[in-house]
Symmetry: C2
Subunit: 286 residues, 2 copies
Amino acid sequence: MSELKPSSPIGVFDSGMGGLTVLSELVSALPGEDFVYLGDTARVPYGSRSPGTILRYSREVSEYLLRFDIKLLVIACNTVSAHAESILREELPCPVIGVIHPGARAVVAQSRTGRVGVIGTRSTIKSGAYEREIRRLNSDLSIFSKACPLLVPVIEEGWMDKKVTGQILQEYLSEMVREDVDSLVLGCTHYPLLKKAIKDQYPELKLIDSSVETARAVKQQLEERELLREASESGPTSGLKTDNGNRGSVRILLTDITDHIESLERLFFRHPFQSLEEIQIDDMTR
Amino acid sequence: MSELKPSSPIGVFDSGMGGLTVLSELVSALPGEDFVYLGDTARVPYGSRSPGTILRYSREVSEYLLRFDIKLLVIACNTVSAHAESILREELPCPVIGVIHPGARAVVAQSRTGRVGVIGTRSTIKSGAYEREIRRLNSDLSIFSKACPLLVPVIEEGWMDKKVTGQILQEYLSEMVREDVDSLVLGCTHYPLLKKAIKDQYPELKLIDSSVETARAVKQQLEERELLREASESGPTSGLKTDNGNRGSVRILLTDITDHIESLERLFFRHPFQSLEEIQIDDMTR
């Protein structure tokens, strides 16, 4: 195992494109870092797979990212964080940060009523990972969880501002709100795009964006381990690598690229990037 | 290449569980036949993959089904029918029947206004396969196509009777109905479960169920090739294989099994079956 170096890139892994919301926050919070994002778009969504299949895919993708000599792996995917994070942390030679612990920590800190909600894909909710993590931090909280499988396709349709989206949100959230939940964890990397639509329906609800919280946790971990790479102050603010290398680069690898995937990239990622490359899944399974 | 035998099973291939609506119609129309259904649930949905990836997966699954010495392959999946049917027909040693031609033939026969609609997943609509096939049969028709990516998750949520489903259907169909479309092809194997909800919104619309039309086409093909296996009249009507073998059997193979998958089986398949087995995807890629 080689030593971790500040100059190495950060690996970011998602089952698909949603993790780009996490990458957006990472690039904003850590402008001096290089990032390699791998979205397994040939096999997305992991959320409907069995735990064994999710673990197998997660190992394959993580091992592929190790080729880039990464100094830290961000699991920018709730499904993988729920099912494979602790195993990957044991197996990989670098620190591993998922999205669940940062989201759980934030909702525990912010709730006033002690009644909190969690929404996510069917598989994330069924895993009980957020509930376990929230209870571990504060066993007195009441937790209301709801799987919301329609929200990802609603976002990918670009229906964020449609009236019907408000009605779908009511289907999913009205019961929770009646239970006096005051804080809601957006437990899926797509959901930050629905913040406004949720606020329109339920203005009182505090929304916990796991992407923001995860970027914060990554920065803290890098500082503690003295692995942080600062951006030079003179660099541009775009996140683009310049000749003098004082800004980090962003490389996006996908296992399958379609026109629709490219439109999702524009939906989820708000920074420039150096390359968008397709890699073959056969490369990973060896 | 071995000779095709009436006693051999029929292979049925879908990217997931929706093809079970086609299998349901096949079992009803062909009670004497044995069926082997393969749903590639570890890699569903194919609809969001690139054409190259869809073709690769389709070849792997078809080759796996050939191990059962099938006499005919039904492609019970619009995405695969759109992208891989003609190539599989050339490559495989048995007849291949997809869902698109039967659906197109039926809508051409039934439309009175000459204005027809097609709904399906993003990939099926984008492929233009229904439009091409309908135009080939009758170049005078006006065709209105619409990708409806929310309908599959709506069905898998079991929201067939919810008010919000009517509103989602209006989002997708109102423009088409304003265009005086009189017949609508349900170009996704999930959609037969929405027949009632669509009828409630648009009672005048004739709905073309590709599953029913495909079962009809399969029966005709087997008769023409003298490959049909009749059920004995004395057998039970359940579709279950009995000791004297006068009724066909149904075997369901899936590349990934979860609780949710089992609930979909109950949603989509209305006959008894002999076995539900998980097979490993590694078996297919060799």
